[in-house]
């Protein structure tokens, strides 16, 4: 197997005058759980649509496992996808449609029926097999859509916002399923939930206005933008601020109000997080300051907003 699972070269897509993808080039390493991030309209779904052959690229190419996606037959069964806005036929039982997909994947009739039933079992919905797609709730439909992506043994799976619109329990189940499936596959996962992406993905790419803004490992992306949000018992003395600013692990300090400030860190690796925390407590202690709370910034979110021009306004408690 090639070490690059998905190779995107100079890909552009225009919808009349709107540029959805602008000369995107990207290599997705094999056997990674790759997060695809971007605000609404960034081009994530368009990118997935071109990869799946729903949309025709204006320019450029996508190769999956070394095969151009224009030749979808050669990829049959090796690539699958959970599209964001595809629909099932409303008059045919779910199991029949999944069986058709399995047959198109190359299974014979009995094996296809079994693969379809197994896929429904996998997402915990064996009871809906005979039901019409119209009779299913949004959450159930999402899980059925997800299970069609897991029919067979695809090497590359694209999941376009698999947890969008789901209740927390269903979203958790899907995240667990994706993590369980990660083993020997390449999964490309798009989501607006940055914490979710940070939690399960090992690589990430940020798209903005149809362009690739930054790509790399999760550690690489988050360590360069790690931050702490600190609230003190009294105002930060300028001497303490100077000492913190001068420290090599600190990229900058942003005061939020008299008692609160953000400490932006520049870490070479996530292991330095502890060093930074230790340094913060030591400096504050030397100046007689006591932190009432220290919140660890959702560093991916901070980096994402920095790139896309948004504003970070929170973090998780450490």
């Amino acid at each position: 197997m090639s070490e690059i699972a998905v190779r995107i070269t100079n890909l552009s897509k225009k919808f009349s005058r709107t540029v959805a993808l602008d000369n995107v080039s990207l290599n997705i390493p094999a056997r990674t759980l790759y997060g695809m991030l971007g605000p609404n309209g960034a081009g994530k779904t368009t990118l997935f649509g071109v990869a799946a052959g729903f949309l025709k690229a204006t320019a450029g190419e996508i190769e999956v496992q070394g095969i151009n996606v224009k030749n979808i037959s050669a990829l049959r069964g090796r690539m699958s996808m959970l599209p964001q806005d595809a629909s099932f036929q409303s008059g045919i039982p779910v199991i029949d449609q999944l069986t058709l997909f399995a047959r198109l994947n190359g299974f014979d009739a009995p094996a296809a029926a079994k693969a379809a039933a197994d896929a429904l079992e996998l997402v915990g919905l064996p009871d809906v097999a005979k039901k019409n797609a119209r009779a299913l709730s949004h959450g159930m439909l999402k899980r059925v859509a997800l299970c069609q992506a897991f029919i067979g043994h695809a090497e590359v799976i694209f999941l376009d916002e698999p947890t969008a619109g789901l209740d927390p329990d269903n979203a958790r189940r899907i995240r667990e399923l994706v993590k369980a499936y990660k083993k020997d596959r390449t999964i490309i996962f798009s989501s607006h939930n940055l914490q979710e992406v940070q939690q399960i993905c090992d690589h990430v790419c940020i798209l903005h206005k149809g362009r690739v803004m930054e790509c790399g490992t999760m550690d690489h992306l988050t360590s360069s933008s790690f931050l702490l949000r600190v609230t003190l018992d009294r105002p930060l003395a300028s001497a303490a601020e100077g000492e913190l600013s001068a420290h090599p692990l600190v990229a900058g300090i942003v005061r939020e109000d008299d008692l609160s400030f953000q400490l932006k860190l520049n870490l070479e690796n996530p292991g330095q997080k502890t060093d930074a925390m230790k340094m913060l407590y030591e400096v504050l202690g030397r100046h007689g300051l006591f932190p009432r709370s220290v919140n660890e910034g959702a560093s991916l979110e901070a980096r994402f907003l920095e790139i896309t021009g948004g504003k970070f306004d929170g973090g998780s408690s450490s």
Binding site: R76, M79, A86, S87, G91, D96, L104
Partner: protein, 299 residues
């Protein structure tokens, strides 16, 4: 045949049956077919029951005399645009009653085909119902699978209609020999199917170009109907304003499958073959245009 095309055709037929669209189409085709048949069979049956004629042979002779009259021959020649020899072939050499039914059926087939084939792809393009298939098979397999599914409905309905009409003529009316009825019915069935193919292909093209099933239906019916109307109008205007003889602009009719339809029933093998070739040509052209559209567009 590519197995994916067969699978997609089979599932599209199942889908059409389960959602009711297929059943409605079959009912429409059967209603049209039986209504036309009834239009011609009922007077003969009245003759049998009311005129006091005692035997079918006598009725057959009476009917033969009526149908071979100059008026009827003239009417057939006018409808088909054929010469006297072809009119004679249709009403004397072949069972005239069946010929009349076939001539009228051929007039309606383009429209009934549109009713059955308008939504080959448009609805699913609109609601993104092809996306799970596109991950697994080529676009051309979807396009041809859906076309095959639509044509299969026409084939099944047409076979059923012609079989019922032939059985009725043989056993209930009984004025023609059974063999003559079945041979002519088979040839008529082939003509019906040959004529329905280019119109199903035309629908495949429009359906691939549009995102709405209703829009596709409207365009298919409008193009099918208005083309005939426009060409006829152009012929009339041309004949009057350009001082041309009636028939000089008949070649315009040959630009559509409509203009070839009655030649599918011609007594001359070369004329008939040419008509079948024309139908194949139109089908190929429309399918090529449809496939090109379907291959290039976003789905």
């Amino acid at each position: 045949m590519n197995s994916h095309i067969g699978l997609i055709a089979l599932y599209s037929m199942r889908f059409a049956m389960r959602t009711g669209g297929g059943i409605i189409f079959i009912m429409v085709l059967l209603t049209v077919g039986f209504s036309i048949a009834s239009l011609f069979i009922s007077p003969v049956e009245s003759l049998l029951t009311k005129s006091g004629v005692s035997s079918a042979e006598t009725v057959a002779e009476t009917y033969r005399m009526i149908s071979t009259s100059d008026t009827i021959k003239g009417a057939v020649a006018w409808i088909t645009g054929a010469d006297q020899a072809q009119s004679t072939y249709l009403i004397t050499e072949k069972p005239a009653l069946l010929s009349a039914i076939l001539l009228f059926l051929l007039m309606f087939i383009p429209y009934t085909t549109c009713l059955g084939a308008f939504n080959q792809t448009a609805g699913d393009i609109g609601n993104r119902g092809f996306r799970y298939l596109l991950l697994r098979t080529e676009r051309r397999n979807i396009f041809f699978g859906r076309f095959l599914g639509a044509v299969s409905f026409t084939v099944i309905s047409s076979i059923f209609t012609m079989a019922v009409v032939a059985l009725y003529l043989q056993f209930k009316v009984g004025i023609y020999p059974g063999l003559a009825i079945w041979l002519w019915s088979s040839q008529g069935l082939l003509a019906i199917l040959a004529l329905s193919l280019p119109y199903a292909a035309l629908c495949a093209w429009f359906s691939a170009a549009l995102d709405s099933a209703f829009g596709s239906l409207a365009i298919c019916l409008l193009v099918t109907g208005f083309t005939v109307l426009l060409i006829t109008l152009f012929q009339s205007v041309g004949t009057v304003s350009l001082n041309m003889k009636p028939g000089d602009l008949n070649w315009l009719q040959r630009l559509t499958p409509w203009g070839w339809k009655y030649e599918l029933l011609s007594g001359k093998i070369e004329t008939r073959s040419l008509a079948y070739l024309a139908m194949a040509g139109f089908t190929g052209l429309f399918l090529w245009l449809g496939l090109r559209t379907f291959e290039k567009r976003d789905l």
